[in-house]
Amino acid sequence: MRQDGFRSPNVAVVPPPPRRRRPRRRRLAVLALVVALLALAGIVGWSPDDAEPAPIATRDVQIDVVDGPAKDQRVQIDATFYLPERVPAPAVLIAHGFGGSKDSVADDARELARRGFVALAYSARGFGRSTGQIALNSPDYEVADAQQLLDWLARQPEVTTDGPGDPRVGVTGASYGGALALLLAGTDRRVDAIAPVMTYNDLVQALVPNAGTNGQVTARTPAAGAFAADGVFKRGWAGVFFSAGLAGGGGTVPRHEAPEPGQRTPDDSNTGGTGVPQGGSGDGQDGGDRPAAPSALPSTSGPATCGRFRPEVCQAYVEVATTGRASPAAVELLRRSSPATVTDRIHAPTLLVQGEQDTLFGLDQADATARQIAAAGGTVKVVWYTGGHDGGAPGPALRGQIGDWFGAYLGRQDGDEPGNGFEYAVQGALRTRGPSVRTVVSPAYPGLEESSDTERRSLRLSGPAQVVLSPPGGNPAAISSLPGLSAVPGGAGLTGGLALDPPGQAATFTSDTLESQLLVTGAPQVRLRVSAVPGQPHHGEAVLFVKLYDVGPDGRRTLPGGGVAPVRVTGLPADGTPVEVTVTLPGIVRPVESGHRLQLVATTTDEGYANPVEPAVHRVELADDAVSVPLVPGRRASGGGLPAGPVFGIATVVVVVALVSLGAAVRRRYSDDVDKDLADVPLVISELTKSYPGGLTAVDELSFRVERGQVLGLLGPNGAGKTTTLRMLMGLVRPTSGEIRVFGRRVSPGAPVLSRIGSFVERSGFLPHLTGADNLRLYWAATGRPAEQARVDEALEIAGLGKAVRRKVGTYSQGMRQRLAIAQAMLGLPDLLVLDEPTNGLDPPQIHHMREVLRRYAATGRTVLVSSHLLAEVEQTCTHVVVMHHGRLVAAGAVGDLVGGDEATFRVDDAERAAGALRELAGVGEVTVDGEVVHANLAGLSRSAAVAALVGAGVAVEQAGPRRRLEDTFLQLVGEEAVE
């Protein structure tokens, strides 16, 4: 057969090259992936160590102590000893809050033990399962007990000692326990460091405060209180306190935690709050889960209303609670229990933690303690956090800070001692997800040193003198906060919005609108002038509750911290002569936004206090027309700069990406593959195979060659593998084996030689939102080649789209897209033009035109490769043809060789007679009959002579032409296909 001859031996069939590139590329990619994943795993480096905490060994102990003024009262203290992994270690004594027991501080003890301290949590006398009665941190009782606990600690082999009988020990505790820490440190020099939390300095000023003084407030600290004598009984809180000592349950220290910086979701906070018992672990806490056993009727006699209080304490409370005034005896009793009596003897470094949401023990209490310790030369650091008795217990970060304090001063950690300093938390007024808190750090608590002074800004207030009346019975009363609401998380937030002033009882003075934000840090001060109103009832003294509201532009008032300053002004002349009084307002940390105003309100009643029951009328006016607001500038506690792990990770990622890109670029550079012998041959396909996973072989060992000037038709029924072959030619699909060379260059994806091919394969690809002309222009622009090479005009002329080129391609018909696609393929007049079924969708004149175009194109010495499933199309357009079926080459050769030659076909009315007539002609070879058709090898005789002979023989000739052997073959193939 001829096609065998066409499978030309002169085509160098290149053996399939060794295919080692692919695995190497894969290895590289896998390596890159592994490195990248490792880098990602580097994120582990920043994750906090969340390993399961080591179990803490505990031991329940009963410690016998002897106390009392005469050292003759035996008391058994119930305690739990927490042991860290490594002993001996410094110890921390943990005292609980009022109404709590050793179990309410179990978590704190565990946390400290985990940090490497030996912790001793104990129930104070009168609480939990300790015996004895509550003496309110009396030096003779509670403090004496604690001293004997230090003795006990010194005897334990697990505790580091500084000398015989002197343990290395710190003391901490909240509220009642914090006061014990201060009292113990001021009494016993063996204490090495303390961290009292939200506690009092002077119990008199805490329970019977007077924030107004006729003199000057000399302290220069930010939250100094007036601490004047003869105050107003803080009825609400005192009652909560006292009842906690009656029943034993409850507790005055809040269990939920205060918000801290860095917390984003509110639900992150309330975990592991202090005082949540951790029972059931079998570590000897049996019974500890029960609320502390109330001994409603202690065996030591006394009235049941006194609960577990010592008689003198009970008596003092009953007296104050019923009269609303503290007698000198009661004042003396409370003062003896106050740290203020010993603060000048505290030499242990003190971390004073005070809450900004605390109407029981406000910032003024810690302020006084700090002043007294510093004046005596002690080391004191002050921390104001967002919690307090109204706001919540210290959160994990603050507890960590307390642990660090002990670590530094008890010798568990190397590094700098924290020393003096001041930190305060600012809770944002607005929140995104949960409370947003920042911590501001100042190098020192201002006003402690001679040289330092608290910066104060005077803010103008305006308002006329106002007459306020005290209602009989002190009712209705203004509401500022509700003690005990702190039991509810967020309760502190509630109290801020709760403020209510009954009409007629409040004098109001308002500031101008703030131009810029003002961060109030401490206790503002204001001077008021109070006088009796002649002719109206009065009793020579006035009780006022002064508070400072933050008023928003919409008039909404917020009472920051919920605190009020109770003021008792005595010695009011009946003639209306005013008495001037300096009022120290409750200490707050409050960012007052620009556009807001401050409002000073003086009311005659407050729900939390013992209000005067006698009706009275007073006049209140501003003495200075201004409120003095403390400011403590500082810098924000930073997050410690850039974390090293992620920075290293970022660098790793950048380096890995750079290396991989570099590697790929180098590999591409050396991928050129040239066969110089074929440099002038437009296309050589050798042994080309494409098989897909799953067994389908689209192209199977295909080899052919196209020479310059040819119009080659790639003929085959649908599914013969034509389009796949063309895709491989364009570098879109990788051959499974074999190769394609265009002008000697091996075709691979992106091979530069592809720029000499113009192609249209399967479907046109245009941007539907652009016009035809724009599509061509942008396509050529994408090639980056000079615009003058494009020959857009010629291409458009060939496409024959006329004005339609200025329409969006999205509106084109199939035929128009087809012609535009052919024009696009011809852009730049490529040396090899590849067209896949170019006449699909064209009408006959256009098909005719296209044939002419392709012929002319090849005539210039360029090459055209056309695929088609129509034999007639190939016959009329192409000079050469390759027939494919099932991916294999079936036939190949010049069209003339395959379709023409000497053989002729005649369609006649009488085939037998025609055959006879033809056989009689001289030189005619084989003659066959096929129905109405007769085939004959004319062997040089012209078809016209043969027709003349047939007509002469009386045969009617319908049709005469060359015999279409190719068609026979092809129809056979297509027929097969149809059957399938």
Binding site: A29, A32, L33, A36, L40, I43, D50, V426, G428, L430, R431, T432, S436, G493, Q517, L519, P553, R556, T558, P591, E593, S594, G595, R636, S638, G641, L642, I650, V660, A664, G731, L732, V733, R734, F743, P749, G750, P752, V753, L754, R756, I757, G765, L767, H769, L770, L778, A782, G784, Q789, E797, I798, G800, A804, G828, P830, D843, P845, Q846, R856
Partner: protein, 302 residues
């Protein structure tokens, strides 16, 4: 086809150049590094309705927000609320709210759209194969498309806060930027911080870009690529909201989405933002390298 007419003229075609002058065997004037230049690809993308609508919507959003605030409750400056109340405090606050409102979802969609659509849409129009037949080398095609998608995303990312700043300043004035932590910053400082926030968001969203690009080269359906990336983001956000997962959550690509809020303080804590950038870049690198590898070896059949 009436406009096509039937009278064809055939132009005279010049003969071919005798020998290709380029040593790599390419046609005259062809240089791989000149193919699909950025401005060409930019022109291709900018003329798309999709691009115009997306950018237009981002520019329109601040006006919609403004309208919502003006039509809504007039209880401005409520202290207990969230960033919504903060939004009307000043022009810069309005910008921070606009960023906050769009960072979680809208910007993710925008980035996913630009990156996810870029190759997949070419595949769906069949124009991809003609670009590759130019030939635009595959790595170059993906790189140029990624760069242009990045530029468009960045444009959108800058457009939104810029328009919001204009609208905010016009309506709510040149006041201080009040931060969620209760601090106030001057207009200049506030604008600087917001610019840094946009920078962080741009880096943080690279993981979406990488994933969308990977999906874009893996499918011929643009919607699938865009939707897949957005879906992954939503899934990650859902998982991130499960607090029980604890520290595992920080491996989620969206875990640090809001870390830019740390910029809204006077002393910035860079910790979470650094982690966020690392997390995003690590994901982007893995997805991006996979995308390039996949695209370099893939058979283009569309």
């Amino acid at each position: 086809m009436s406009e096509a007419g039937t009278a064809y003229t055939l132009p005279e075609l010049p003969g071919p150049v005798a020998e290709p002058p380029n040593p790599d065997g390419s046609a005259t004037g062809y240089r791989a590094r000149h193919t699909l230049r950025l401005r060409v690809e930019l022109a291709r993308q900018l003329r798309r309705r999709r691009t115009q609508l997306t950018l237009g919507f981002l520019a329109l959003l601040p006006f919609l927000l403004l309208l919502a605030f003006e039509l809504g409750s007039d209880e401005r400056n409520r202290r207990s609320g969230g960033l919504v109340d903060l939004a009307t405090a000043s022009g810069t606050n309005f910008v921070s709210f606009a960023l906050f409102a769009s960072a979680n979802f809208l910007l993710v969609v925008v980035v996913a759209l630009f990156f996810g659509d870029t190759v997949a849409s070419e595949a769906s129009w069949s124009s991809l194969k003609y670009l590759l037949a130019v030939p635009v080398p595959r790595h170059r095609l993906l790189r140029q498309k990624a760069v242009v998608s990045g530029l468009l995303s960045l444009l959108g990312l800058v457009l939104l806060p810029l328009v919001a700043l204009g609208v905010g300043v016009a309506w709510y004035g040149l006041g201080e930027l009040v931060t969620p932590a209760g601090e106030a910053m001057s207009l200049g400082a506030g604008v600087g911080r917001l610019a840094l926030a946009v920078g962080y968001l741009a880096l943080h969203l690279t993981w979406v870009a990488g994933l969308a690009l990977l999906l874009s080269v893996s499918t011929d359906a643009p919607l699938g690529a865009v939707g897949g990336a957005v879906l992954a983001s939503i899934l990650s956000q859902i998982l991130d909201s499960i607090t029980a997962l604890g520290d595992l959550r920080q491996y989620l690509p969206t875990h640090y989405t809001l870390a830019w809020a740390d910029l809204l303080t006077t002393d910035v804590d860079w910790g979470d933002m650094t982690r966020g950038v690392f997390s995003a870049l690590a994901y982007a690198a893995v997805f991006g390298l996979l995308a390039f590898r996949r695209f370099a070896t893939k058979d283009i059949t569309s």
